[in-house]
Symmetry: C2
Subunit: 251 residues, 2 copies
């Protein structure tokens, strides 16, 4: 049985302000909690229903400092999901450390991607296409938002992120670094020789695309050819299609 | 000023039961309403704020039978969007007519795609890739659900759909018709010679994929190669990536 104080504390983590203050975020649902328990994230607290706890026996060295068995109703009451009859974890946020592309590696640059669902989807796509690093402008959705974590379907445990002033970051990249940027009037992604040297792929805001200040740092502007009449593709969809072409072209 | 009865009637259309009973569905927000007014859908009623009405002067032959000027608050109260300060239309649903692929045409087959957001996204992707026909299993999300309409970003005006028993439909296709199906263990989509003959692309349920009963009607099973560790891709993302490869391969 969760105390009123405890429940209130957990619910406070629905808000960015308190996530930052406490350095904790929520991971919800069976699959995500299972993945975070198996990852190198530090889980402080596990709230689990008896069903989840029995099915997911944890080795002694993986036991979180605090484990509580709760009812599905309690879980749903403190979490953000419509229903959760499995588990919820309070997990330590990570230090914000700089990330750079190693030779041959693909790194995503997100400029002002605002929608948490889109960011979560992009983490999942990155994870599918073997992209391990995502650099986000300071204005991009906060990765610890429960909607991001949930939309990433566990991929947040395998992808690293770095929030920074993206203009300064891009300016500091060595001359000659391949930086592809997604625009509506770039080169046809089907004809680009991506090669195997790796580099960066920059994706922009849902409504406005990549900011003009960043354009000079893009070495090649790419476009997904359109065969019909939709005005645009969602940023998550576009990320997947470009990464697919990149991986395909690099074989 | 909307009467209480009128407001109640509009709100009843949030539910499938009443959409079916009245043969009407909701289109909300400036962009979608503008597109539906310019399409061949029959708009019965337009509720618009003064701002929207002034900016979108309608030629006499495009005036809906009923037009009301309302406040943004009234709009938001009767609609499903978090806020809507532009317009809402009540639109006649279409007859459910059979669709088939013409030579060279690509048609989507959706088996039990349950999430309205996914269906809306798929309509938008279809529209981008020049796919004009989508055939849905009877268990696929209802296309007139406001979440589908909204996620399609206006593409519902350019893509046709047909709801049917998908097993019977697929069984009735002429022998030799190319039917590609998305599976986790099919042929690498990067290496498939799609050619220009067109055909069908079948996408399955979010959790379970394509039903076993449909497998015999799939002539070629396709897979998006994975380079990392995510368990799967969202069905909308996978649809976009496969269509992109199909269009690229058909050039």
């Amino acid at each position: 049985m969760l105390s009123k104080n405890r429940a209130q504390f957990i619910r406070s983590l629905h808000q960015k302000k308190f996530r930052q203050e406490h350095g904790l975020f929520l991971v919800e649902g069976a699959k995500s909690v299972r993945e975070v328990l198996a990852s190198d994230f530090r889980v402080d607290t596990l709230l689990a229903t008896e069903a989840f706890y029995k099915e997911n026996a944890l080795p002694a060295d993986r036991q979180p400092p605090s484990v509580e068995i709760v009812s599905p109703e309690e879980l749903t009451r403190v979490g953000t999901l419509e229903s959760n009859n499995m588990a919820l974890a309070l997990v330590r946020t990570r230090e914000n450390r700089p990330l750079l592309a190693e030779p041959g590696e693909i790194v995503l640059l997100l400029d002002d991607v605002r929608d948490p669902g889109n960011l979560g989807t992009i983490l999942r796509i990155a994870d599918w296409y073997g992209v391990r690093k995502v650099v986000c402008s300071d204005t991009t959705a906060e990765v610890y938002n429960p909607k991001v974590i949930s939309a990433s379907k566990g991929s947040f445990t395998r992808v690293h992120w770095y929030y920074t002033d993206l203009v300064a970051y891009a300016q500091a990249l060595p001359a000659g670094t391949p930086v592809y940027g997604a625009f509506l009037d770039g080169q046809n992604v089907h004809n680009l020789p991506f090669g195997t040297e790796g580099g960066y792929l920059m994706m922009g805001n849902e409504a406005n695309g990549i900011r003009p200040e960043l354009v000079p740092m893009v070495s090649r502007s790419v476009t997904i050819p359109r065969y019909g009449d939709a005005e645009s593709l969602n940023v998550g969809i576009a990320t997947a299609v470009i990464l697919d072409n990149w991986r395909r072209g690099a074989m």
